[in-house]
Point group: C3
Chain length 460, copies 3
């Protein structure tokens, strides 16, 4: 293999890789021990009369059947979708793909345990006894992807300004806050949030923006490598499209069977088409160079329709309502890229590389508010749902609307607290062994690079 000697100027940072390797190794050994001693596979209840030749696989197979298709789709969203969406930067493709890969992989493991702990706690609250083995099944593995999604959203804000070590620390701490939030909102408040509008998008983006506040400085703002490339934008579209195409699975994965699951698919899809239409209209309306389209908007705002359906995709919101929600979310998202993000960077000193404010935070918040109204409407018009559906969706009964309001506030609050904690730790690390400003938004600090690695944009 041939290497690019142009990049020799990067000082070898000895401390960062040592800490990274030691922490990750200890983490992995800890995982192996915990999994071996605490967890167990999903099991069938056997009657003993099963005939091997005709056995249909029992309840376990039913769960595989109900969830594995969604599991696979969301797997694609997390590892391929997020990974490639972030390859738009000229010189940051390896890092975008690589850190998404390693951090999502470790979060997927860690999630089984953290989720298992909170589920065990929830169980012990109800049954008075803490289970010795935490059984995991397809849907607990799915939770790992949801948590990874949340961490990847946070990553979007600080893309290009972090070391692998930073990401590792965020990947260890954020899941604890994530599942604590799910524990409060889902298991205790019983709020409505079928696709993680609050728990994943709102939480992950507020968390990420808080962390980004610590990792923004004058030099990072001026870095010329924070720019897309033509090839990179084509790769990023592959990420966008797989996120867009698999999003109905994301919102339907844990929806109750039957009409709610169908509506989750239909509403998410219609809403995505609405946000895509809005993106093209608003991008052309405002773009500064002769009404041209901007790839940044197409790559991101077209997805706002999936985010805004996060909480209520499974509800009876009328198909026209789904398109309208997507259209509004997409429009606001493009406006956010054009008008809010630059202001947030200048005034609040929060640099948000991928614009998660516009893709996840604002649409996620809109969806969370919509859930409150949808809950009020559903409680006042119970004929909108069958008896079965009503019991499955309105788990908190008459207090559903206030449950959702509280869960929204808790999501924001916990995200800020967690973000402050992680941001503070990363800032300390940055002082000791962070990136030089020359190393922002590029792979060369941490990757062996081929000869055709793009040159600094200043020299183009």
């Amino acid at each position: 293999m041939t290497h690019n000697d142009d990049h020799k100027w990067v000082t070898t940072k000895r401390k960062e890789p040592i800490l990274f390797n030691v922490i990750l190794f200890i983490f992995q050994v800890f995982m192996i021990i915990c999994f071996a001693s605490l967890t167990g596979y999903d099991r069938n209840e056997y009657t003993g009369s099963e005939d091997p030749d005709k056995f249909d696989g029992g309840e376990v197979q039913e769960r595989v059947h109900n969830f594995y298709g969604y599991f696979r789709d969301i797997n694609i969203m997390i590892f391929f979708g997020f990974g490639f969406l972030m390859t738009f930067l000229r010189r940051y493709g390896y890092s975008a793909l690589g850190y998404t890969f390693i951090i999502s992989a470790m979060v997927s493991q860690w999630s089984v345990l953290v989720n298992g702990f909170f589920e065990a706690w929830s169980y012990s609250n109800k049954h008075g006894e803490f289970p010795s083995t935490w059984i995991f099944d397809m849907s607990s593995l799915l939770q790992g992807f949801f948590c990874s999604g949340s961490v990847m959203i946070s990553y979007g804000a600080i893309l290009g300004r972090v070391t692998p070590l930073h990401m590792l620390i965020m990947g260890i701490i954020e899941p604890i806050f994530f599942f604590l939030n799910v524990f409060i909102g889902e298991m205790n408040l019983e709020a409505i949030d079928v696709g993680g509008g609050m728990y994943i998008h709102l939480f992950g983006s507020v968390f990420g923006l808080t962390v980004a506040w610590f990792l923004t400085d004058r030099k990072s703002k001026e870095c010329t490598d924070n720019a897309p490339s033509y090839t990179g934008d084509n790769f990023a579209m592959a990420g966008t499209l797989f996120l867009w195409m698999m999003w109905p699975s994301f919102n339907a994965a844990i929806a109750p069977l039957g009409e709610p699951q169908f509506r989750a698919i239909a509403n998410t899809f219609l809403s995505l088409t609405g946000s895509t239409v809005a993106t093209f209209i608003v991008s052309r309306l405002f773009s500064h160079l002769g009404n041209k389209l901007d790839m940044v908007h197409v790559q991101n705002s077209s997805l706002a329709g999936g985010v805004v359906q996060g909480c209520i995709a499974h509800m009876n919101i009328n198909p026209g309502g789904a398109i309208a929600m997507g259209f509004i979310a997409g429009s606001i998202s493009v406006c956010g890229y054009l008008f809010i993000t630059p202001k947030v960077q200048r005034k609040l000193h929060i640099q948000d590389t991928c614009g998660i404010l516009n893709l996840h935070c604002i649409p996620g918040f809109l969806g969370s508010i919509a859930a409150i109204f949808a809950a009020i409407k559903g409680l006042n018009n119970p004929e909108m749902y069958s008896k079965v559906e009503f019991e499955q969706i309105f788990r908190a009964g008459d207090s559903q609307a206030s449950s959702n309001l509280i869960a929204t506030m808790v999501s924001i609050g916990l995200a800020i607290v967690g973000g402050l904690l992680v941001g503070f730790i990363l800032l300390q690390l940055k002082k000791i062994k962070g990136l030089k400003s020359k190393e922002y938004y590029q792979d060369s600090a941490f990757w062996i690079l081929p000869v055709d690695y793009p040159k600094d944009v200043a020299t183009v």
Copy 2:
């Protein structure tokens, strides 16, 4: 972000974006109103005795279960497959992906309504009463993808010579003709066409070639940007492969359950392997530079086996027959690229950028003819099918062969009429605010571009 000032020469066309935005906005508002007032979600028939803890989701869940996997696969074909397949041009990646995205998204919405209208009409013909709510389910959402597929096929012929406004107008008008054709062929003639060999491939390609006739001029023929790039060809292969891999789902999606569905999968897959083999043989046999392979053939003709099975993938055509059909379709398709397309361009003045004549039109026509023979054979040998299958496939009974013959002719006829209408409108628009010849086959007229946007091939 950094922009490429090389492209400032592109005159800002004020009228095109205004018209595009106004029409698309009105379209979207119209969609929201119509969806809100006319459509309804798929519903279960409840008995009232359902136990929420054990409810299996009813018929709606069964339809989700039967169709969602295919829905997802075809989603990938339309948005990722077609989008990336068309990124082979050197300087047209954003447009290929972007216009596929917006037009397919809007067609997917529009289709639910147009399809709903014709289904309601069909219902009123049978039951004497026009339904006030048009219920849509997984399979009607699927129809939206089929229609989008048809529009994307048409797009292939005029790729690089259209503005977003052109595409928008085609995206509004073509679905009306598409569903009118389906209404006639599928609902009235009850022709055999399980995977849209006639309704999607033949119709879409004839439509597109007719439109292309209006959009071909001397300058477009000579444009040096109508050339592939190495990176673009690799991207295009991602599109090809996803189309290829998901095609069995495309042809099986609405096939009757059981043997027809299995045969749709098996025949499509075997036929695709046959056309792939043929592509490599014929491409090497004739290629003008020392028996080398041509990526254009590999990207396109390898898919001819899927198109040719469009009508009859689910029938009992013998596995060897499936391979043979694929092999023949693939061979003809490569020959088409080598010998027919240049002639059509020179003699008929129809420039066909992606060669849809060879990928969709000829194989689609072959498949339509094959359906007539398969119908005759099936009617003469009813023992080839079980009683159940026979009733499901031969819906037109003894007149099945003539039904299919008529449906084929209607598909061609309606496609020409629709294509003439759209082509005429686009030509008028072109005179007022079309592309300059300098702007053919490149993104710079409508997209904000990064610094590494490829230079004009003349300057390479």
Copy 3:
């Protein structure tokens, strides 16, 4: 289209394309005849009382339902995953994608026949009568992908040093050995190998390494085009990620329904996360340029966790055990790339372009050994499995461990014999009409190329 005249120096080899075309054409005609005369579609047993409106599709639909999702995923792995994984080379993208495409397509056809023959033989051993029609169903089509996977693994070792004709010959001969091995191991020894740890990975890699021994010379070792590109590495990551994401489907596809199928998914997924973590740790630990990450490791060793679970993913190995196995396999795999592959090339004169030794051979061998121990443990602790599971997994009963040991040895032995045969044939061909050393690792000998085809690295 514009062509790159820089590559005119490549002598047109008249014999290679003629032989390629003639052999492939004869092969295809032979396939069509054999399929037409020997094979039949999967069929339902009908009772005659089926009501067309309510017919649920019978057993055939059940098999479609159980297998088609996996079929589609593995389709993605073979054609997209392997194809793109091999696009990392600077100037070999077309060949990587193209040869994967054609060879996997032809092997998929060929496999139905070869597998059908051995299944018929197996049937005649039991029932004394050789069936006249070889019925194929979803799971026999799956076998075609497994065999293609094996051939693609072998291709990895010789990537860049073969002509299409070479690949064609390997694609015809290797499946015969592959299915002979499956016949012995699976049908006769009844060894445990749910995801092809022995039959696919171990067999395919030993086969490929043996062939590579014949195709290694001094010039191929020194070729400067055997180097990755930045864009190529991003494409390759798309291949890696789809392999990674779909791997649970690969190992679960033919696992018994119920707990074994769930465990196959869970163990494979956990093991893959373990090997991904290991890859990042070990790559940073040893990499020669300042503890930087190496894309070669990320692209390959992260997948070792899937390979190592090949035999026993469906067994009760404890979730912690699955992570640990993945971690160990990933660690060894990276070490293999760093320390073993260079030595094997220098000392044994086996050049292994993709490092299949480290990704498939060593992890596959580890998994095969693990299966022996898992069999011993399961036989000694039958309470680890339900009665149903035990009968399904331990088909060889008390001799399960020795069955697996023998099957491992047979897999290695047959792979060497087959590899010697193919290698010898290819070497003869190479003498007559092989590649010039200038033509190694690049597309120009066999493909029409666009103007931006990357220049020789020596001239960069």
